[in-house]
Subunit: 139 residues, 6 copies
């Protein structure tokens, strides 16, 4: 099938996506400090692309209803743990707690990944989890 | 706290762990071909260590009841996707399907990780998922 | 700035993006076999998401005119080399050649990355380059 | 061979492993600050699993007598260097020095890995080595 | 072809390489602080090897005239972004700006790599770019 | 210290390095098939750079006498295992065996790295070791 043929029928409604983006961003990241949001970093360099990226990531990916938000955040924690991305993991530890995951579940996911991505990556992630819990007063 | 002091009280019951290991291995990997099981590879080089590793990984980690087996397998799929480990992912795609995850859920987890670990890693994982589904006749 | 406020003004024209996506995809990937295109793999699992991903990646990212297509492909070759993603690298080696990069330039980029991502990753990439050149009869 | 059949004969003696764990931990990590030991981080989240992990990693893996402790620590330095895990590398730089590796040998191992894991990863590791040596007054 | 036979004809002129090394190092890294140069870290551990590494990396790799210095630095930025090496990226962000790349081009390269190496790695790189620009007063 | 000043005194003797390169290459890789040697791949794209890379890697790095060849190969096995580079690992498994490491030692190094780089990476490496041993008839 040709790309050109296929995309003629593109019927994405940007207003609908913008609405979903705002709603999902609020659900996930309301407890994250403004200066820690990647969106502001993107905007610093390119406002239009920042919008495109947010609409795509938050509005078209996170807002999908194929798996519950809790599962989505736990698999995100797993991915960011083995990738050793503590800054991004901080955001999604907040998101996981904000959508109702318990700290025990988040810790368990991190421990589980130690088999695949190694123990040092899990240690870094547990340290992030500990800090986020302290920051939220949920220890 | 001193290690020596702490571990004096170690009360791991090896028989109990061996039982859990067997039960969990059966639940997860009954559809995996014998020659694709890492356990046999480990045994080839060191029988005693192979036993220790299985007891630890399957009996002491996978058998924990802190999160449902479905969640455990989905986070494992996420970790193996971003780590780009197609052989191991094959085993856990089987395990995920064997504990009741749907193919749509597994695909969704892989798509979600493309934001964190990149699109090429997700493509490799989707290819593995497609092959496992074909192998099982579940397409 | 609030997400909700910001995105109210979202003015993405999906028809325009669909057009750019088709044009850029043709420019880059016309020499790539249909079954090697990730787009078809995505469609296999989720047609709507496949469309969203193509519109975003090809239409909103690759089609940007901030750097020449040649530079865009060479930096992509560098990224895929150090990430050791030979399948995806194959696609972008085609794209690099299709937009006018020479094989000497592509090889030089790969050699350069050996300092950062190590020599084995560069070796894998040179092997891919060699295969693509043979496939195209450009050796 | 069936798992269940195989593990019936499991004859791990937990007391013996606990003893080995304590002895090996002391040999390796006596110079590491208490708050930098992963063991305490694991305990913070799950005391029982922390014990299981220590018994497995330190008692069943590190304590094996297949290669000398010096070789074991040098290969660990190599692995942690290319994985870019400076916190864990700090622990094992201590361990390497504690079991008798010289600083010249540790530096040489790090330099050697620059061919495989790239120069930036080696630079991070050399910085860790420099800091540990300063901390120990062994510069 | 035998190694021994081939290398009999080795006609590398070390004086010529030393000259190229100095010239290229000055072109790239004149704005980098002395204590941030890996060369000094290498020298701390092994003076002779530090020389060999500099002659090879800077004199024999960077000084090659197969691609323009701007392209060389942009592909380096791409590689260091997906490898998540912020310290080394800092050096090459300086180098990229010093050989005439604009901040818009550097940002674009980083955004482009987010498709391959993931968004978190790109975020780390954009933060480095922001800091280097502030340090240079070029924001 | 200025680069230009420092390198004026560069006293590398290219003939001496060429000799060391040939000798070390023979010691390590005499059992490796010609078409599997990276050197030939490099030569395919750039004969002069191939020579520079060989002189640097084999003549200036591997030939250093700071650690025994056996240790050098075991740390290389560790690095290539956690980096998941099976092709390169094959070369250095040959090299390790050629300089006198036993298969038990190589397996032990791979098992040890599973703690740091994860079990799937170790599994890939054990598979390579098994294949090399079969190829050499040393099982």
């Amino acid at each position: 099938m040709l790309f050109t043929a296929f995309f003629k029928e593109a019927e994405v409604d940007p207003k609908e996506i913008a609405k979903k983006t705002g709603k999902t961003a609020k659900l996930y990241f309301s407890t994250v400090k403004e200066e820690e949001k990647p969106y502001n970093l993107w905007r610093h360099f390119d406002k239009e692309l920042a919008k495109d990226m947010s609409l795509y990531i938050t509005g078209q990916m996170y807002a999908r209803e194929k798996i519950p938000h809790q599962t989505r955040q736990l698999v995100t924690v797993a991915a960011l743990t083995v990738l050793s991305k503590p800054d991004e993991l901080k955001l999604h530890t907040h998101a996981a707690l904000n959508v109702g995951c318990t700290k025990e579940e988040i810790a368990e996911v991190i421990f589980q990944t130690s088999i695949y991505g190694g123990v040092p990556a899990a240690n870094t992630a547990l340290t992030v989890l500990k800090e986020v819990l302290e920051e939220r007063g949920e220890e």
